[in-house]
């Protein structure tokens, strides 16, 4: 899978409350509606300007805080093609995979990418190209890749159970 898009760069510890505020967690149920509130309390321009395939690049511990899956869902449905971070909070990482959203851990790339530049990611080859060069990132483990390749955990579970 090749992702090419504009970079939205943020800092360390971007938490799930600023990605998708808690006050919406039980009132908004449709993914398209969730997308309208993506990063609402962090960057008010994001939902106005984000384009399909854009990439979020962030520092350490992206997605820390709540277990709310909507934090991954809202970004996916807002069009985010991938998130590149120095590290991810563990539940957010799982939620992203389970929603079929690409997450890439690559500290070196993050340090060399600037906001607004266009970057290209070849997920299968583990290569990220930006203005300052090409960076390699390690592949995900096989079982995790299996979920991603099935399009997320729900379709993956259907396949495992042999439900067409």
């Amino acid at each position: 899978m090749i992702i090419k898009g504009k970079v939205w760069k943020y800092g360390d510890n971007v938490n799930t409350d600023v990605i998708f505020p808690g006050k919406y967690t039980y009132t908004i149920t449709e993914p398209e509606e969730m997308a309208k509130h993506a990063l609402e309390d962090l960057d008010s321009n994001f939902t106005k300007e984000v384009k399909k395939g854009d990439v979020i690049v962030a520092g350490r511990n992206f997605g820390c805080g709540s277990s709310r899956e909507q934090a991954a869902t809202c970004l996916k449905y807002a069009g985010v093609g991938a998130i590149v971070a120095k590290s991810f909070a563990r539940i957010f990482f799982r939620n992203s995979i389970n929603q079929g959203l690409l997450v890439i851990q690559c500290k070196e790339a993050v340090e060399n990418i600037s906001s607004d530049e266009i970057i290209t990611i070849d997920f299968e080859k583990g290569k990220l190209s930006c203005k300052k060069g090409i960076f390699n990132f390690p592949p995900l483990s096989e079982s995790v890749l299996g979920i991603l390749n099935d399009g997320g955990l729900i379709p993956h579970t259907r396949r495992i159970l042999g439900i067409k």
Binding site: T16, V18, P21, E40, R60, I154, L161, I163
Partner: protein, 419 residues
């Protein structure tokens, strides 16, 4: 070389002789918790295309996040859950008169030593206080477990945190864990199991251990853990008839790190806006005006928390500029607080006693903030917008510090109120 608790329990639950750090294993959890988000999970479960959950007896659902329902949407959400548990024969359903999930699961005997408990809530780590392996997961994962009974987990490395010394006056388990989070940072234990030990933890009440394990999530930990002892076994004794087997780290287990803290010189701690690791000693932020004070939540809504607050407030009136909200963590706590006359003291001081539940902690209802307002809370999170308004500020502290501060209308060193 010996094994850690995390390695041993994941080997046990995956049916393997031996497993190694970093390995991904498929496990069958003993209990899986969801709360108000069970409605959304039931929708995902139906998308899978299975008619019946595989192990109804392992599913636990307390309603707590917005109880009683604040709006029609929340009411509908609860209705969907009540219908689903009925249809699926889920007996471990606890309606709005029970309490916060992380208090209710231990009280109802669902978090026994040596068990594996997963929950669609980040503070599921709380149950490690009883020697369970308890971690937070997402909604789709719970739906998938309902259908298959299984899930993948990665075997974590373990950080051992030894807490030694004598607890100083005015310092409580909340101050200790805030200090540790401030020291290690919001990702200081990312992906790791955290084992709390040392004299201070051994001497600590079960409630205090729950506070430590609850907030382990705030430094990125996968689980918190305290080795079961007489105290925790006694606490559970009247709450379960099930047999269980204690699992603990071997004496020669290999830890990723061992961190020692001596808390003898610690002063009360405050987590300042807008991150939990932005922790300062109370002397640095004393005098900060507050509009609302909150005592309760899964972090600090237990009987000992309400008791210390009422001891501090006894015979005094809170500041006229402060609203003090008290949320007991469960109906069991509520009943005990009534019996002991704790509520009488709190009400006489000017507190508003609320029903057991999460209250305004996640910004849904029952005391959300207005722009420019400041809340001092015993909860576990102070992220921007957390209590419903991104132009408000949330500080975190112990129940004692919150009670003392509500008297003066500003962040206060609780030691001035203690004899």
């Amino acid at each position: 070389m010996g094994k850690t608790f995390a390695e041993k329990i994941l080997a046990l639950k995956s049916g393997k002789e031996s497993i190694s750090i970093g390995e991904i294993v498929t496990v069958s959890p003993d209990a899986v918790m969801s709360h108000d988000n069970a409605a959304a999970i039931s929708k995902k479960f139906k998308q899978i295309g299975v008619n019946k959950v595989i192990h109804p007896e392992r599913i636990v659902i307390p309603l707590d996040h917005c109880v009683p329902a604040a709006t029609e949407k929340y009411a509908l959400n609860h209705k969907v859950i009540r219908e689903f548990v009925q249809e699926q024969g889920i007996k471990n359903f606890y309606d709005i008169n029970t309490g916060v999930c992380h208090q209710v699961l231990p009280e109802k005997g669902h978090t026994l030593p040596g068990t594996l408990v997963l929950g669609s809530d980040s503070h599921t780590t709380t149950y490690g206080a009883f020697g369970a392996f308890a971690a937070g997961i997402g909604r789709s994962e719970v739906a998938s477990i309902w259908a298959t009974g299984k899930i993948w987990l990665k075997v974590p490395e373990t950080i051992k945190i030894n807490i030694e010394g004598e607890i100083p006056k005015g310092v409580y388990p909340k101050d200790i864990i805030l200090y540790i989070i401030g020291d290690l940072g919001a990702d200081g234990a990312l992906y790791k199991a955290v084992e709390f030990s040392g004299k201070v933890v051994r001497d600590m009440s079960v409630g205090g251990r729950m506070t430590l394990c609850n907030m382990a999530a705030e430094m990125g930990a996968k689980i918190g853990y305290v080795e079961p002892d007489e105290k925790s076994i006694q606490w559970l004794a009247s709450r379960t008839e099930k047999e269980y087997k204690i699992v603990k780290s071997d004496a020669d287990a290999e830890f990723e790190r061992i961190i020692d803290y001596d808390i003898s010189g610690l002063e009360p701690q405050i987590a300042c806006p807008h991150t939990v690791d932005n922790v300062k000693p109370v002397s640095d932020v004393m005098g900060t005006k507050i509009n609302q004070a909150l005592i309760g939540t899964c972090t600090n809504g237990r009987i000992e928390d309400l008791k210390i607050a009422s001891d501090i407030l006894q015979g005094k009136k809170i500041s006229r500029n402060v609203r003090l909200l008290v949320f007991p963590a469960s109906m069991e706590v509520f009943a005990e607080a009534m019996e002991k006359g704790i509520f009488q003291e709190l009400v006489k001081s000017g507190a508003v006693i609320m029903n057991p539940g999460c209250g305004p902690c996640l910004g849904a209802h029952e005391g959300v903030l207005a722009p420019g307002e400041v809340c001092l809370s015993t909860a576990n999170r102070n992220f921007k917008g957390r209590m419903g308004c991104k132009e408000a500020k949330v500080y975190l502290a112990s129940p004692a510090t919150v009670a003392a501060s509500s008297l003066y209308g500003e962040i206060t060193d609780v030691r001035r109120c203690l004899k």
